[in-house]
Symmetry: C2
Subunit: 431 residues, 2 copies
């Protein structure tokens, strides 16, 4: 049986998971693939720490380039993270004509166009199953399973940290800061959680999915991003009372040929298939013209789920190396380096949840309604509960579909009124 050599760059959490997966299921993999996967090189600056897996010291090196150019290495796995060194190492690997597997969504979101283009020109496969959805084989599903389908929309819960925080806030009645601390204690959030809670990680994954679905370059800076930092428990409670749950969503839509890509907290009806996705789980709902609605659900992160995805990419490439067919692997996501056009904010319509802070006196609600109406925002329902604690009472309004810019302008006017207290909270509703 042929052996295919693997060079691992980055021996952190996921790297150790890949080694564990390869060791644990080695005979099973060989039987399924008809090829043996052999770990030939592991590069990391830290050669000392115990990762809980055994690796022969002789194959370890501090020099990533040594691993890349070792003739015994047929496939290079980049698990270093970051967008500078990783980018250089991947470029160097592709230039050397060797296939690459990466889990690096930030890198793909920022430099995907360049790297996919290089890989295409060099006829070298670039695997990235692990970049979105951890152990969920979503890249395969979207690129190969739905290859015949025109994708109209993708809705994703793509960040386990945020979903874990929102779930704990809801289930244990925690404030955002306390749920974040709990997530950090459990190892589900980084000491610096900005990448997750400010929505950037979700945006990176949204860019990868949109690139696959629509086949053009998707500039990261065209994605509207809003995270869950400071999410008020009160809004989750009001939403729940109205039959909605708040989730951090990536929403990718094809509106008549123009892309609308957004990351933000959104209200989902309780019977929506995504609203029951809790804890660190991820899920992706795809709407397409032939298959209809399909949903993919699983652990969005963690060492072994991510390792499962990495090894699946290695396996496909290993068969192509062993039996021929590198050029027939699924084509790269970019069928065009030109970016698809994006919708203007004016065209982006939605229903909205608005929580206003108002003085409880006659005529106030009427004034609001007038301002909203003048901006073509019509009210679907109002929730105002008696509350005697402060000078202001919360008033929750659900609107009918309205243009985002109209809602923004109306809210800006409303927030300047004398009888309005704190700034209005505005969240989208996805039905």
């Amino acid at each position: 049986m042929k052996e295919i050599g693997i060079g691992l760059l980055g021996f952190g959490t996921v790297g150790a998971g890949v080694v564990e997966g390869l060791q644990k299921n080695s005979p099973l993999l060989a039987r399924r693939l008809g090829v043996r996967l052999a770990l030939r090189r592991v590069a990391d600056l830290d050669l000392e720490s115990d990762r809980g897996v055994k690796v022969d010291r002789a194959i370890m090196t501090r020099d990533a380039r040594e691993a890349i150019h070792d003739p015994a290495v047929d496939v290079v796995v980049e698990l270093i993270g970051g967008t500078d060194v990783a980018r250089e190492l991947i470029r160097e690997t592709i230039e050397a004509g060797k296939p690459v597997v990466t889990a690096n969504k930030a890198l793909l979101a920022k430099h995907g166009a360049e790297l996919f283009d290089l890989a295409f020109r060099k006829s070298v496969p670039l695997g990235f199953e692990a970049s979105v959805g951890g152990g969920i084989p979503i890249i395969r599903a979207l690129r190969e399973g739905l290859v015949a389908d025109r994708i109209s929309a993708i809705f994703g819960i793509l960040n386990g940290t945020c979903n874990y925080i929102l779930t704990r806030m809801e289930n244990e009645n925690l404030a955002f800061d306390d749920a974040l601390k709990a997530a950090q204690k459990e190892g589900y959030a980084e000491a610096n959680p900005a990448l997750d809670i400010d929505g950037h990680d979700t945006a990176h994954k949204a860019v990868v999915l949109a690139t696959l679905a629509f086949g053009g370059a998707v500039p990261l800076d065209r994605v509207h991003v809003q995270g869950i930092r400071g999410m008020a428990k009160a809004d989750m409670d009001y939403a729940l009372g109205l039959g909605y749950r708040v989730k951090l969503l990536a929403v990718i839509r094809n509106r008549g040929g123009s892309l609308d890509i957004r990351v933000h907290p959104a209200l989902l009806p309780l019977d929506h298939v995504l609203s029951s996705v809790s804890g660190v789980y991820n899920a992706i709902l795809i709407e397409s013209d032939l298959a209809g609605k399909t949903l993919y659900y699983g652990r969005g992160a963690g060492r072994l789920p991510t390792a499962s995805a990495v090894i699946s990419d290695i396996s496909t490439i290993a068969r192509a190396i062993a039996f021929g067919g590198m050029r027939s692997l699924p084509s790269l996501p970019m069928t065009s380096r030109k970016s698809a056009p994006f919708v203007n904010a004016e065209e982006s319509e939605s229903r909205f949840y608005l929580r206003m802070s108002l003085q409880d006196r006659p005529g106030v609600l009427g004034k609001l309604a007038t301002i909203l109406g003048r901006h073509n925002v019509s009210i679907a329902s109002v929730l105002q509960q008696e509350e005697r604690r402060g000078r202001h009472v919360p008033v929750v309004i659900l609107t009918h579909r309205a243009a985002e810019t109209d809602v923004r302008r109306a809210v800006a006017l409303i927030d300047r009124l004398r009888f309005v207290g704190n700034r209005t909270v505005s969240l989208r509703i996805e039905d």
Copy 2:
């Protein structure tokens, strides 16, 4: 751009869907694949009926062999159904060295071992994405996405007809017969519904999934099959009152190296991810050692969802033909023609739902409990409601985990007692 010729055998509902999909998304497919898919031959006994799609009469034939052996045909798509003619035509295609794509789960469940073996010997790919889960790319997910994973269990709602019937019974308070009639009227059930409602279609799909997951031949006759025919609405109501929903499940388990494959109606807790799958939707939950739990959900049947899966198989093969690499396509499911060992019924444990029909008089429940206890079946909860209509009252018992044979023996004894009316209804609980 290269063109790959398709020969279609069977121009029924799904066949017409495939033609529609190929026509509708032709430029998109070409852009994504780098290859053009060209319909070159359509074979069907009926050349007259209008299928709602336009096909050049010149490429139509009544002779499937003409399509198979046409030099312009590179890939043959079998959508005839049945297990006799289809088997012969697929054998003939493979013998001729041409790749085959099929949606025929009955054929694969009965003659998969033979066909996969032949395809392997001839180095010819055999695509069957459409055989399970309609538009859900479950074959790819299991075979390629989870290639690194040891699968411990698969739970599937695999038959849209049954799930539609159960959903209507529950939502509209219909008896089984009325829900079946409704399904037939909507086109979701055949005039002869036996294949669906007796569980055989689900069993065929379970065999395909088990073959992929465990890599050995899975004899269909080793699968325990019980359908939903005659399912009593009362049992669904009692189950719901106790926090469970009844679904027709395929359950595939690896119990320490032995297979346990069953198809039967089962009680699922309301918070179980599969219990909210309603109507004609299918879902497959996979438990594996690296990825953990992953779930795949979508339309399990229908012309366009099935066409999406068929065209995805054609596409993979088309790239392999155009760019080389036929031998590197994912290997066939059988790594061994030897069947995996199966568990004995004695070893198969579960919790059970039992509905007994008892005379309402003192001491009766005690006698039941004694008989169950003597067979190592212990009671978790009892539900007995006052009911004065007949001589007998229903008593519902949920058991703790017990061996299936113990439960069967106990129930057989109980059903012979003088104070027992109708035969006891026994359903498994999957937690």
